[in-house]
């Protein structure tokens, strides 16, 4: 068990260090999400009541689109100097590489969310009427749902023409149930109607995460070696 975790950690630290020095992904993600916030905010100009109803959808759509920017760079970075081919021939298990990449993306998207949430609260005058702490599991599970499938499909779209377009085409249809759960859970918590609860959506998100993490781990090796 120690060797695969070692490989995961090494790849993860390498990716984080690379990102820390270049700040490629995080800068473009941040700017993109900022644009979405600003454009939506002045095109709708909602008051506090309206924004509570629409904010869940806006926040998650903005994060999903911004995450695609980071996901596209995950594997493209490894194509330079044939690093990905080196991974393929090395005896390192493919899944530890996948986990490292997925965790790296999770951290990038989580940082983005942490930085953007205050802006969202400010622009949309948000104030949760329901139990706000439930937003934390929704955010963690939702981000993992986007990132785990995104990392997998990014590896898949490497071998296609116009791969930057291909990733959202593959990712969005599969992500629909997760996105619906995130949006509904967030809206339920923000609106705080006592007759409904976000629990169903959180359980559904957790199920989605378990199912697709298993699916990705089962199929990643096949997809990595398909050249």
């Amino acid at each position: 068990m120690s060797a695969p975790t070692g490989i995961t950690l090494a790849t993860l630290t390498k990716d984080i260090r690379l990102e820390w020095r270049s700040k490629d992904a995080i800068n473009s993600m941040l700017f993109f999400a900022l644009l979405v916030v600003v454009v939506f905010s002045f095109s709708f100009d909602p008051n506090a009541e309206e924004s509570r109803v629409i904010a869940g959808g806006l926040v998650w759509v903005a994060f999903l689109f911004a995450a695609v920017v980071a996901l596209n760079q995950t594997w493209a970075r490894e194509l330079r100097n044939q690093v990905l081919d080196a991974y393929r021939v090395s005896p390192a298990p493919a899944n530890s590489l996948f986990l490292a990449k997925a965790m790296g993306n999770f951290i990038f998207v989580a940082v983005l969310e942490a930085l953007m949430t205050p802006l969202f609260i400010m622009f949309y005058k948000l104030h949760a009427l329901g139990p706000a702490w439930q937003l934390i599991p929704v955010a963690i599970l939702g981000t993992w749902a986007i990132v785990v499938n995104g990392t997998f499909f990014a590896a898949m779209s490497l071998r296609t023409r116009s791969r930057e377009i291909m990733l959202p085409l593959l990712l969005f249809p599969i992500t629909i149930p997760a996105l619906l759960s995130m949006v509904e859970a967030t809206t339920t918590i923000l609106v705080g109607d006592p007759s409904t609860s976000a629990k169903f959506w959180i359980v559904l998100l957790a199920t989605y995460d378990v199912v697709f993490t298993t699916g990705c781990l089962a199929l990643f090796e096949t997809v990595l070696h398909a050249e």
């Binding site: 499938n149 023409r161 085409l169 599969i174 149930p177 199920t207 699916g215 199929l219 050249e227």
Partner: protein, 287 residues
């Protein structure tokens, strides 16, 4: 086999015209909805055919993936057998079953899974399962499009709206989106291993469908409950017309799939021959 194709073609033409006559003339007029209801004889058979084709696509994709290694193939055989046995036992042990499900329909599903799996395994070689997956996905998308077009045409006069985010409508739409992205992946892929990537996506799509269904099921559903096997009731004459129509659509789907399958196989044979010829050509022509 060569003679069977035109025979099936004639049979399909006869069946389709007979089914059209039945649907427009023989089937009784629906009491409340009037003649608009007749679209049902196209909508429902198309939906069943599309779902069946997507199911075959999923089974063929799984086969393609597991046959890459002999040991996964062996494990998969046992897993499929276990799924079949468990559904048959579960149908009678698990009580109560979710609403609208009967033990007999669950058993039929279990037997269908095992049956399709081993039939495809017996009659299709590994590269052929990929061609089967491609053709069923293409034809399935066409039938699914028919479902998505005829649905709103019926809903507008009956419900008063074109579209609603109801569980069956949305699941069908998401299924359609997944399979369109499947076809786009196949078209845009530059890899020599496109079948592997496509098969992996098909498996992901199949994992997604139940989750989509549950996520939207949580909202109140507006689509009429299934009239067959769902506790609803349907006039015997209507059921007869519906089943004839389904038979006609099914044989039409088989005909189109068959022709597309032959075309794709021929195309791959030609490509293979050309590649071989290029290898055997004397070096001098390369310069």
């Amino acid at each position: 086999m060569k003679k069977a194709f035109p025979i099936l073609g004639v049979l399909t033409a006869v069946l389709l015209s007979y089914a059209l006559y039945l649907a427009l003339e023989v089937a009784p007029r629906e009491q409340t909805m009037g003649d608009v209801q007749r679209i049902f004889y196209y909508h429902v058979p198309s939906a069943w055919t599309a779902f069946l084709l997507f199911f075959i696509n999923f089974v063929a994709s799984v086969q393609y993936l597991v046959r890459q290694k002999p040991q996964t193939d062996k494990v998969a055989n046992w897993v499929v057998m276990a799924i079949g046995v468990l559904t048959c036992i579960g149908a009678y042990v698990m009580k109560p079953l979710p609403q609208g499900m009967y033990p007999s329909s669950v058993v039929t599903t279990g037997i269908a899974i095992v049956g399709f799996y081993f039939l495809i395994r017996k009659y299709f070689s590994e590269p052929e399962t990929d061609i089967l997956a491609l053709t069923t996905a293409e034809v399935g998308v066409v039938f699914c499009t028919v479902v998505l077009v005829t649905g709103p045409l019926w809903a507008r006069p009956v419900w008063g709206i074109w579209w609603t985010w109801d569980v069956r409508l949305t699941s069908t739409l998401v299924l359609w989106l997944i399979y369109v992205s499947y076809l786009v992946l196949r078209r845009f892929s530059t890899s020599g291993q496109t079948p592997v990537l496509a098969a992996a996506l098909a498996v992901f799509g199949a994992l997604d469908v139940p989750l989509v269904y549950f996520s939207i099921w949580f909202f109140r559903t507006q689509h009429p409950q299934p009239v067959i096997g769902g506790g609803g009731s349907i006039d015997k004459r209507m059921l007869h017309v519906l089943l004839i129509n389904w038979l006609a659509f099914l044989s039409f789907a088989v005909l189109v799939c068959w022709s597309r399958y032959r075309l794709e196989r021929m195309k791959r044979d030609v490509e293979e021959t050309l590649a071989l010829e290029a290898l055997l050509e004397p070096r001098s022509s390369v310069r």
